[in-house]
Every structure is written in structure tokens, then in C-alpha cells.
């Protein structure tokens, strides 16, 4: 009898451990990485070397390619560099070994000063040619750069290179979000002492104050068509969700609760907004039509879900739209994906660190988030299909609240 009980209990332990094992999202046939060889470029060896490094790094970050020697590759890259350092022409050819078919043959003009940009352009074309999916090599990430008690905004290439400061206010600037056309960033700044919502034009360097009501003007997020902004205002007494016209004005209140609403994120079709409300005690994710009305509660557990980010994969993508959140479990912060079928949040980044603030890449497959260990915060990329995390180079002082550009 005792032996029987022991066997049953052992069986139960095995059952429980195996049931929690799967946390990957296998929604794409690109889960199988295509073996790809980068043979490089003939011509100027310095230029060729730098381009080759960028191609290999981008291929690894794409999640859909595996860099292998030519003999093992399904697709092989070759190319040449012509011209001089101020006026280059780079030709890149990718062939499928088995069929001998050329899937990419293209020339790229550039200069030795912007080799990374050139390499990224080639990489995106390579991913498109081999997998049919949209690449992320040319995208950028905006983030909050902490310098002691000062917080400025900055942008960087998606791989952590090319950091550019956006604000020099020696104040606190937070929560950056890109416009869909990539030309503007909206954020909240305390430069006036009070938290104002500001729009900065990345090309003209002009800034305008879009919302400066009493209380909070924060959490601003552009609608997918760029015509509206959802944001948090507490001008009517406590933090509520509003929309406004992106050109300014047209404020409409969406929520009416005694709790605090915050962190709006738009659905891909621009018809709904997911957001955080603590109206029932602890913060959870809710859904509201862009025109207001009754809220629908999305998440129930764990007991703290915040910072929702709704992905907008391209229409021809293998990826489905998903909402990523930051959950608090056991005092630690995890990145989770909300499952609209089961209403559960499935952890995808769950370790001994504090993982917060997910933001989706425009491919709907990668996201960037911040990871804090021993009170040092740095940015990481996550491929939700493979589950692979990539650590971006450390930034002195700390980087947080990332927002992936279009």
C-alpha cells in the first residue's frame, strides 16, 4: 500500500513539473532557423569587414536565420564593394544553394561613414528575400537614460549602437513613444516643474506642449494611424484615460472610475485601447473602445499586471497581435503575454531579475524590455518565437522605459 502511494505521488510530481515547461509561442513557421552563410564582400577589406560583421550580427538577431559555414548553408551571401570611402556602391547577392536561384541581387549606395546603416538595409532585404517576413535591422529604440537624478531621452539603433541624446534639459523626461511614421516622439517632461506631455519632432527639433493640465499628463501613446493620442490625465480629480487629436486639442474622456487608469496601448486596428486600472484594488489590464463606454477586464492573475504593450505585426506576417505585460509575482517582475482565449498571462521572461516595460518591434515578434539586477538596469531584446534574450550593451547610469520605433 505504502509503495503504491509513493508511486502515485512520484507520478504527480512529474506531471506538475512537465505541465509548466512550455512558455514559448510557436506561432510562426520561421521557428526553424534557415541556415545562412555570410561569405562577405570583395573590395576594400576594412569596409568589407565592417559590413560582414553587421550582416552576421543582424542575421543572429533576426531569430529566423542561423549563421553557418557555406557547406552547411541553404542560402549563401556574397558581394562586392566598389568606389571610394566617400562614395561607395555595395552589391549583395544571396543564392539558394539547392536550386541555384538568386533570391536577392541589389546595389546599395553609401559611404564609409554610415556602414552600419548600409549593412542594416542589406540585412532587412536578406530577411525579406529568404523568409518573406519584415526585418528589424533598420529600426530604432527610444529610451530613458538616467544620469543620477536627471533623466533624459535618447534613441539608439535596435542593436544598441549609435546612441543619440534627444533631450538636454537636465530635468526628468520619461515614457517616450514614437509616431507611426517615425518622425516624432511624444513623452512626459518635468521641465516646467509640472509633468507635461510634449511632442518632439526628430527632424526639425521643434517641441510643442500637447497637454499641460493640472495634475498628470502622462502615458501618451499614438494610435496606429497617427491621428490620435491616448494618455492619462488627472485634471478631473484622479488619473483617467483620455484621447486627443494628434494635432492638438479634442480631448475626450474615456474612463470614469475612482481608481487610477494609466498606460494606454492601442489595438492594431485602432478601435480599442488596453490600459491599466487599479479600480478594484491591484492593477490589472482592461479594454475600452476608443470611443469610451464600458470597460472589459482582461487580466485576473497574477495580482499585479501593468505596462501593457499591444503588438502590430504587418498584415502579411505570420505573427498574431499580442499584448505583453509586466507582472509582479513573488515580489519579482516578469514579462508575460496575455492569452485572450484563456485570459491568462503566460510568463516569457521569468528569472531572478526585475523585468519591466515591454515594447514590441514592428515585426510583432521581438520586444525590448528593461532588466534590473542589483539595482542596475539595462535593456534586453526578446524573440518571443524562440524565447531567446539578447543583452544590449550596458549604458552608464541605466536605461529604462524603452519604446521600439516603427
Amino acid at each position: 500500500m505504502r509503495r503504491f502511494i509513493i508511486r502515485v505521488l512520484a507520478g504527480l510530481i512529474v506531471l506538475c513539473n512537465s505541465a509548466t515547461a512550455q512558455s514559448q509561442v510557436t506561432v510562426s513557421k520561421n521557428f526553424v532557423k534557415r541556415p545562412f552563410a555570410v561569405t562577405g564582400f570583395t573590395g576594400d577589406p576594412t569596409v568589407a569587414g565592417q559590413l560582414t560583421d553587421v550582416l552576421k550580427s543582424d542575421a543572429n538577431l533576426s531569430g529566423c536565420l542561423k549563421v553557418v559555414p557555406s557547406a552547411e548553408a541553404e542560402f549563401v551571401q556574397q558581394g562586392n564593394v566598389r568606389g571610394d570611402r566617400s562614395g561607395l556602391t555595395v552589391e549583395c547577392i544571396v543564392t539558394q544553394q539547392t536550386t541555384k536561384k538568386t533570391v536577392l541581387s541589389k546595389s546599395y549606395p553609401g559611404s564609409a561613414q554610415d556602414l552600419r546603416r548600409l549593412g542594416h538595409a542589406i540585412s532587412d532585404d536578406i530577411v525579406k528575400a529568404i523568409t518573406g517576413q519584415r526585418g528589424i535591422a533598420q529600426t530604432k529604440i527610444a529610451f530613458v537614460w538616467t544620469h543620477g537624478r536627471v533623466k533624459e531621452l535618447a534613441t539608439m539603433d535596435y542593436d544598441g549602437y549609435n546612441i543619440r541624446e534627444l533631450t538636454y534639459d537636465k530635468s526628468i523626461s520619461v515614457h517616450p513613444r514614437w509616431s507611426p511614421d517615425g518622425k516624432k516622439i511624444i513623452y512626459t517632461s518635468y521641465l516646467s516643474v509640472f509633468p507635461d506631455m510634449i511632442e518632439a519632432d526628430l527632424y526639425t527639433h521643434q517641441r510643442k506642449r500637447l497637454a499641460s493640465f493640472p495634475g498628470l499628463n502622462s502615458g501618451a501613446d499614438f494610435s496606429p494611424d497617427g491621428s490620435k493620442i491616448a494618455l492619462t490625465l488627472s485634471k478631473d480629480g484622479n488619473p483617467e484615460l483620455y484621447t486627443m487629436d494628434a494635432v492638438g486639442g479634442g480631448f475626450q474622456r474615456l474612463t470614469h472610475t475612482r481608481g487610477a487608469e494609466s498606460s494606454p496601448t492601442w489595438s492594431p486596428d485602432g478601435q480599442s485601447i488596453a490600459y491599466v486600472s487599479d479600480d478594484r484594488g491591484s492593477p490589472q489590464i482592461y479594454l475600452m473602445s476608443r470611443d469610451g463606454g464600458e470597460p472589459t477586464r482582461l487580466t485576473v492573475s497574477p495580482s499585479y499586471n501593468t505596462e501593457p504593450s499591444w503588438s502590430h505585426p504587418p498584415p502579411d506576417s505570420d505573427m498574431k497581435p499580442m499584448i505583453a505585460v509586466t507582472s509582479r509575482v513573488g515580489g519579482r517582475f516578469q514579462i508575460g503575454l496575455y492569452d485572450s482565449g484563456t485570459h491568462e498571462v503566460r510568463p516569457v521572461v521569468d528569472d531572478d531579475a526585475d523585468n519591466e516595460d515591454p515594447s514590441w518591434a514592428p515585426d510583432g515578434r521581438h520586444l525590448v524590455f528593461s532588466k534590473m539586477r542589483q539595482w542596475r538596469t539595462r535593456l534586453y531584446l526578446l524573440d518571443v518565437v524562440t524565447g531567446e534574450q539578447v543583452e544590449l550593451p550596458a549604458i552608464e547610469g541605466g536605461a529604462s522605459e524603452p519604446s521600439w520605433g516603427p
Binding site: M1, T188, F194, D236, S282, T306, W375
Partner: protein, 178 residues
């Protein structure tokens, strides 16, 4: 014979229950759940601000807000409730505001460094709102009081322990004479 049947039945029921409810909901007795899994302050009703008490207009401020005139009010983790022990500090502010009827007040809300950035801005705003609500109840005109939330971005104490965190979960009061 019969007791054996009952034991088997109990075990089979256990297995079936686990199978139906899902293993991830099952906690072995030695797995302690973290106190904050309960949400810190579960079921705590939000403060009454937001029922039509518009925020007060911003006073004109040049440079930093003046601090130090009034004692900060401290809050429990995840909570925006004004504790009874803190009420006398708000009374001191109310009393001064009633004696200085031309002054305006800025109430700052802050959080400790735990918790996500944007939600902490909302929680800090609820803390400032709760203090403002108390002041209005004590007879200070609502339009003279405005709020600023800094979330976790302006700690009073840069430390990473309970003592530091307790000092950061606060409201601060700045009086502006216009």
C-alpha cells in the same frame, strides 16, 4: 479490502482534481507565497478624489518647488490610503493654508523604486490626490491645491532597503505665495 478501495479512490480523486485544475495552480505546502502576491493592499477602496473634484490650477513656479516647511506624509506599500497616524501632518498643512488664504499648494506624490514606472506615476498621483482630498475635507478650497506625481523618479532616500523605501512612499507639500 474496503479501506484499500477507499484509499485508492482518494488518490485517484487527487490525481483527477490536479489534472482538471492544472498543475500551475497547485502549491506544495513548503512553497511560501510572497506577501505581495496578494496585491499589497487587496480590496482597498480607492480614494474619493475623482468624483468631480477638479484638480486645482497650477501656480506659477520658478525654479524648484520649496520643500521643508511641512512634514512629508508617508504611505504603506502599494497603498494610497492616508493612515490615521499621518492625519495630524495634513491638519498642520490645512491650518496654515486657512491662515494664508492667498497661498496655493502643490502636493507631490511619490513611490518607492519597486513597481513599474508608469503605474507608479499613477499611484503617486493617487497618493497626492488622497492628501488633497483630506485637505479639502478639512476646509481648504480645492482650487488652491494642485498635484504632481513623480512616480519613483525622485526618491528622498537613494537606498535599496525597507528603511529607504518607507521614506520614499510619501507626499510632500509646497506652499506658493503668488
Amino acid at each position: 479490502m474496503r479501506s484499500r478501495f477507499v484509499s485508492h479512490a482518494i488518490i485517484l480523486t487527487l490525481v483527477a482534481t490536479l489534472g482538471l485544475t492544472g498543475c500551475k495552480n497547485f502549491h506544495w505546502p513548503w512553497q511560501k507565497s510572497h506577501p505581495s502576491d496578494q496585491g499589497g493592499a487587496p480590496g482597498e477602496p480607492p480614494p474619493l478624489t475623482g468624483n468631480g473634484i477638479e484638480n486645482g490650477t497650477r501656480p506659477i513656479v520658478t525654479g524648484e518647488l520649496p520643500h521643508g516647511q511641512f512634514a512629508p506624509v508617508y504611505f504603506d506599500f502599494d497603498s494610497a490610503r492616508v493612515k490615521p497616524s499621518e492625519v495630524s501632518k495634513i491638519e498642520a498643512v490645512a491650518s496654515w493654508m486657512k491662515s494664508n488664504s492667498s497661498a496655493k499648494l502643490v502636493v507631490e506624490g511619490h513611490c518607492d523604486e519597486r513597481g513599474t514606472a508608469e503605474y507608479n506615476r499613477a499611484l503617486g498621483e493617487r497618493r497626492a490626490g488622497a492628501a488633497r482630498e483630506e485637505l479639502v475635507r478639512m476646509g481648504v478650497e480645492a482650487e488652491r491645491i494642485t498635484t504632481i506625481s513623480y512616480g519613483k523618479d525622485r526618491p528622498a532616500d537613494p537606498g535599496h532597503d525597507e528603511a529607504s523605501w518607507a521614506k520614499n512612499r510619501r507626499c510632500e507639500f509646497s506652499a506658493i505665495k503668488e
